[in-house]
Amino acid sequence: MLETRHIDKYFLEPVKFHVLKDINIELQKGEFVSIMGKSGCGKSTLLYILSTMDTAYEGELWIDGDKMSDLTQNELARIRNEKIGFVFQFHYLLPEFTVLKNVMLPALKLGREDVEGIRARAMEKLEILGVSDQANKKAYRISGGQKQRVSIARALINDPKIIMGDEPTGNLDSKNSENVFNILKTLCDSMGMSLLVVTHDIDFAERTDRIIEMGDGTIL
């Protein structure tokens, strides 16, 4: 599903620094994998490369059988839209839009369905995550835990192949993080999505299928 071959990454400023050294990982369909490591070990950097947002690296990235490294920015945007769902540590909703609109936007961009179909599906996703009653509120008016669930709903809207998370529970209390973990786990099992989550939370990580441990830019 997702594979990296000999990925190297350098930061050029303030001084040249070798952040990622020869990273080779593989993610199977339906697998729930967490990446752990100390702060500054490069795990977030790796996630941004895997997400196709960061293109300044050496080596190859393959997603769903296609090589990403040669695609243009617009083609990569399409891949992110269609195949990858994101959950960030901070909730990253568009504050002036309604919760429902936030979930709908990636699907409207993809344009596979008409607006009514997208609206129905977005409501369905919000239902799954238990926040459908918030659908018509503006995104800045709901609580942190609710925001995180809305952003998971948004990540799911286009039925992506992979869901990536950067500390998705990092900002939540234990009850909410338990909730988020269960939601992700269920999705992984029932829909066959692959999940790749960067986390500090050892309890969270231990319950995933596999832990990739990182240190100093390499996989341990």
Partner: protein
């Protein structure tokens, strides 16, 4: 592929959520376009008025007898071959008749010319206005009044009385306003004039003529052409000036040259006669364009600033949109659309404001001695000004939006997300 309905939807939400900034930005455009329209309407209206005042009333070509010394003196013809330098002291102009030789055939020849809209004959008679024991200097112009009205807006000069009375009664006179005041005459009174050969005529004041120039109004009056010829004791062919109006003012210079070469006459074109007026008109136009463009530029910078601010506030949104699959081009168009909406909104309000204030100015009283027929400030409602105003609003907002929007297009979402 860009989905414009979606782009528009996102832009609309952004604009509505920042309704205050949107309004301020639109108002910037409104004032820019509004003042542009007011200024242009007022300035071109004023220019049109002055054009009407001078250009429309001035003949494009005036033909009269020239009284200049001959350029080639007889001695030069006689001794042409020699290399001697001839020097003639105190050269005097050749004695000439005041009337134009063969004026009537020349007049019909001019009227047949395809560039000529019309031509009028005039006979000038120098007279004294008699008032008790006083004799005031005066000039009577004999005119064909209908042609003068048609070609040179003669009617605009008449402040009182009936201009066509010249046609109905041969001995009526349109008296200069200055003379009327000095001799305390009004419409319906009689005035005695004495011609240079001593004959006295009694004329009926049937109207008051006012050009706005005191030196003209104190001296000149208008009578019918036959009456002027009668005062001079001359025949129907006694004509001292021809006034020519062309379809195109630009043809005046070459045609005047042609007339001068064909006939032994002086032909004065309007460019030469009113050189200073032309320059004044050009400079007024230049100033109004310069001020208008400055206004629009200031509005453009206002939009640029506000959109730049929008984009800084929306960094997170841009990062999210890009992370969830929107392309840089989508993001660029989201912000350009916002700029264009501001431009369209502000431009439309500017049109309304410009039109409204123009109507207001148009109704302000503007009474001046010099312009008897003008009662309010002149305004030009040329649609071209309104069209160009909106066009400029849209172009400038597009440009002012394009630069910040391109910056938004190039924002790297990773940097924003990491930065949190």
């Amino acid at each position: 592929m860009i989905r414009f309905p979606l782009v528009f939807d996102i832009s609309r939400t952004h604009l509505l959520s920042k309704i205050k900034q949107t309004t301020v930005a639109s108002l910037g455009v409104t004032f820019g376009i509004g003042t542009y329209i007011i200024l242009m309407g007022f300035m071109t209206g004023l220019n049109g008025l002055l054009d009407g005042l001078i250009l429309n009333r001035t003949p494009h070509i005036q033909v009269f007898n020239k009284t200049t010394p001959s350029e080639i003196q007889p001695v030069e013809r006689f001794n042409k071959a020699t290399t001697d330098l001839h020097y003639v002291h105190s050269v005097k102009p050749k004695a000439r008749l005041e009337r134009i030789h063969n004026a009537l055939p020349l007049l019909s020849e001019l009227r047949r010319h395809q560039q000529v809209k019309g031509a009028t004959p005039q006979t000038t008679a120098k007279v004294f206005y008699l008032a008790g024991a006083n004799k005031l200097n005066g000039v009577l112009n004999g005119i064909q009044v209908r042609e003068e009205i048609r070609l040179f807006n003669f009617k605009d000069y008449i402040t009182e009385g009936d201009v066509l009375s010249l046609v109905r009664r041969k001995n009526s006179i349109l008296l200069g306003a200055g003379i009327a005041k000095n001799l305390s005459l009004s419409v319906g009174d009689r005035i005695q004039v004495m011609s240079t050969n001593g004959t006295t005529f009694s004329l009926l004041v049937s109207g008051i003529f006012q050009s706005g120039l005191a030196e003209v109004d104190d001296v000149q009056s208008y009578i019918s052409l036959p009456m002027a010829q009668q005062i001079l004791g001359a025949g129907r062919n006694h004509i001292t000036r021809l006034h020519v109006k062309l379809f195109e003012m630009a043809d005046a210079v070459p045609l005047a040259r042609t007339i001068e070469t064909l006939y032994d006459l002086r032909a004065l074109d309007i460019k030469t006669a009113n050189a200073q007026f032309d320059t004044g008109s050009d400079i007024r136009n230049l100033i109004s364009y310069a001020v208008s463009i400055t206004l629009l530029l200031v509005a453009g910078f206002g939009i640029y600033n506000i959109l730049n601010m929008f984009i800084y506030e929306k960094m997170n949104d841009i990062a999210i949109l890009k992370a969830t699959g929107f392309t840089g081009t989508d993001v660029k168009w989201i912000f350009i659309t916002q700029a264009m909406v501001i431009g369209l909104l502000g431009g439309t309000m500017g049109l309304i404001m410009g039109y409204g204030v123009s109507i207001f100015i148009d109704n302000l009283p503007f009474i001046t001695e010099a312009l008897p027929t003008i009662k309010t400030y002149p305004i030009n409602y040329d649609p071209l000004v309104y069209i160009s105003g909106v066009a400029f609003a849209l172009t400038s907002t597009f440009l002012a939006g394009y630069l910040p929007a391109r910056k938004a297009q190039q924002i790297d979402p990773v940097e924003i997300i990491r930065g949190q």
